[in-house]
Symmetry: C5
Subunit: 87 residues, 5 copies
């Protein structure tokens, strides 16, 4: 997975009907300039530090037929606790 920071939200009216309703957030991978768009089932906000899973495992998370989604926010990082381990 990738550790990333939420930088914004994307709106898309013209889209495939198989794209699930819900938020698509823009994130920047920490320590890089890589930007990704990830589906967010958790209600994350700008500046939040998140865990992003990519590839077919993201699509497989959705119930029923797998949608064309290749990046999923699977968690929000507890900053204070995580910092304690040295990173």
């Amino acid at each position: 997975m990738l550790r990333a920071t939420v930088t914004g939200r994307i709106w898309s009216t013209k889209r495939l009907k198989e794209v699930p309703a819900g938020s698509i957030l823009e994130v920047v991978v920490d320590g890089s300039s890589t930007r990704l768009l990830a589906f967010d089932p958790l209600g994350c906000g700008e500046g939040e530090s998140v865990i992003v899973a990519t590839g077919s495992v993201a699509a497989a998370w959705f119930p029923g037929e797998a949608p064309p989604i290749d990046a999923l926010i699977i968690g929000s990082i507890d900053e204070a606790a995580s910092a304690r381990t040295g990173k």
Copy 2:
């Protein structure tokens, strides 16, 4: 997914018969120099800002037997609304 901008269209007469009829667009990933070719079911045009899903989830979107397609435009980005969130 990747946020990208459409830069052109690719024509291919000599191709596998399993490649679906339809547009294959060239896109550049925003904030990078990475160029991809993506199948476009939405009728996007040059300069349009789009959401691209990659990998096996792109192929799985097609009805019936999955074609050898690894990149799919799943939506067009509403620029004005998306800008409002800070990007």
Copy 3:
């Protein structure tokens, strides 16, 4: 998919028996220095501009049991026509 140019052919006598008979070409991804080896069912030649699909969708294209092939040339690009769209 990736737009790439064929630069050579690879020969491999010592290989897994599950690797299909046929050409494995070396290609360079346009606009980068990335080199890939891709299976070529289309009979492409050196200098030809091609469309390469990567990942499990490449293996799934083969009839029967999917071979350990992760890159497949799915088409050759019509240079003149494609140039007309602005790239």
Copy 4:
């Protein structure tokens, strides 16, 4: 797979319920600045040199329904023995 070094542990209270209980470690890929988050079933510690598998094979390792996990520590590297082969 990737050879990487463990640099810390991530804590995430707000997460999808499908994320398995257990450690998610932060690792840095050796010889690069790439950072990944990987699920650790082996109890590895900071500074340990590990083998990381990525993509859908990581999710498929879990018993039952595949979770949205795309990176898995599959082994710890025996440093002394591995060094003997020249790396």
Copy 5:
């Protein structure tokens, strides 16, 4: 697939039981500094030029349940013959 050169062997005593018995080699992708660990069913040696398949197609090659292996050496490159095509 990737063209790479074998640079060493990895030993791992502490590993998941689902990792198949056999060699895991370290390779460097030609023309880059990217290092990968790949399962080797062919008995390749240091300095050998090899073809590496990555992703789920590597795991699918194994008989029975797919192991958490995402890189597989599928062939050794015949240097002399391959050079003749211009690379």
